[in-house]
């Protein structure tokens, strides 16, 4: 009887995901925390639209339907939210040199 394949499938990606060198893991965690903190200082409205567009990858119409605002508002709100996130990121002391990243 062969070993349950499920095991390999589970371990494979997990190990790849958890074994990058400690330094880049730390940088990544740092970036995540920073982003999280910055997002938390933004308005719920702006956070919402960034999540819908960038994380959920929704189109303007879908966002308009869910948030229940006209498409023009989706566009301007999205532009403001992106600008706000960029501005906050630039204000971070260590990142002044490299814009968002």
């Amino acid at each position: 009887m062969p070993l349950p394949e499920e095991h390999d499938l589970h371990d494979g990606p997990a190990m790849i995901a958890t074994t990058p060198d400690p330094e880049s893991t730390a940088i990544r965690r740092d970036e995540e925390q920073t982003l999280n903190r910055l997002l938390s200082t933004m308005s719920e409205e702006q956070r919402e639209i960034l999540v819908l567009r960038e994380i959920e990858e929704m189109g303007y119409r879908e966002i308009a339907a869910i948030v229940n605002v006209p498409i023009g508002t989706v566009m301007s709100r999205l532009a403001r939210a992106r600008a706000a996130l960029k501005a906050r990121w630039l204000r971070e002391p260590e990142r002044e040199a490299h814009a968002v990243r």
């Binding site: 982003l35 919402e48 819908l52 301007s76 532009a79 996130l85």
Partner: protein, 261 residues
């Protein structure tokens, strides 16, 4: 000071512009430093958010709204009717659910530069109307000008992904004037162009694995009539009267009966 076109650049970045408007923005960005910088910013913001996405959970109020929308939808939506359309366009089941709930929302978009035809959850329909309207612009209608089906038909072999029915019905009042290839539903669709009186009728053909045929419909004053020929989905689009449009559809359907082996 942001460029006056910044919202359009953002819409371009978000993939919300039709091909014509997108080309316009690309040209603009070649000349505008601000907009090029904006595009870079937009990309950096996207990368940063997506790489760190697990730290950005949807706010709970939003989560509730989405769940409610999905709940309402599950009752109203009949699967199988036009789901096939959607899977071609939206791969994620989550979005299908949310999207299908949109039909009832009035989307008053007074944005001339968008291809925002009234409330619609069916991008293919919008693209068909958009392609028809674009084709009426100068120099867009026809790639191969010919009234001879033996010229038009072989032209498609090198320019489109499908081989449509091409026939001339001059005697019945539908004159073959040429053919064109349009990008539609992620493929190079074949478009056969007929003239009927002063009206242009574009007949789009593209491959589909969908079983049903979309209902005939009218959008922005243009009629869209659908039928299938084997695995090809055809759509005739025009502002001519319904019965005149259907006249051509019937002729083409008769033709394809002869053509198909």
């Amino acid at each position: 000071m942001p460029c006056a076109d910044s919202l359009r650049v953002q819409a371009y970045f978000d993939g919300e512009l039709d091909a014509l408007a997108a080309a316009d923005i690309e040209r603009h960005c070649e000349a505008c430093i601000e907009c090029r910088a904006l595009l870079e910013d937009l990309q950096r913001i996207r990368t940063t958010l997506r790489e760190n996405s697990r730290c950005a959970p949807a706010p709970s109020a939003l989560r509730d709204r989405i769940t409610r929308a999905l709940d309402q939808e599950s009752g109203a939506w009949t699967p199988g009717r036009s789901t096939g359309w959607r899977t071609a366009w939206r791969s994620r089941p989550f979005r299908q659910g949310v999207l299908s709930g949109m039909g009832g929302f009035a989307m008053a978009a007074a944005l001339g530069f968008f291809l925002l035809v009234p409330p619609s959850a069916n991008p293919v329909l919008d693209n068909l109307v958009g392609a028809h309207v674009r084709s009426l612009m100068p120099d867009h209608l026809i790639d191969v000008v010919s009234t001879d089906k033996h010229t038009v038909k072989p032209w498609f072999a090198g320019h489109a992904d499908v081989s449509p029915v091409v026939a001339d019905f001059d005697q019945q009042g539908y004159r073959l004037i040429g053919g064109r290839a349009d990008y539609l539903d992620r493929q190079r669709a074949a478009v056969v162009v007929y003239q009927h009186g002063s009206h242009v009728i574009n007949v789009f053909s593209w491959a589909t694995d969908q079983r049903g045929v979309p209902k005939n419909t009218t959008r922005n004053g243009y009629h869209l009539a659908f039928w299938k020929t084997g695995n090809l989905l055809n759509c005739a689009v025009s502002d001519t009267a319904w019965d005149e449009l259907m006249g051509l559809v019937r002729l083409l359907q008769g033709q394809s009966d002869h053509d198909t082996p």
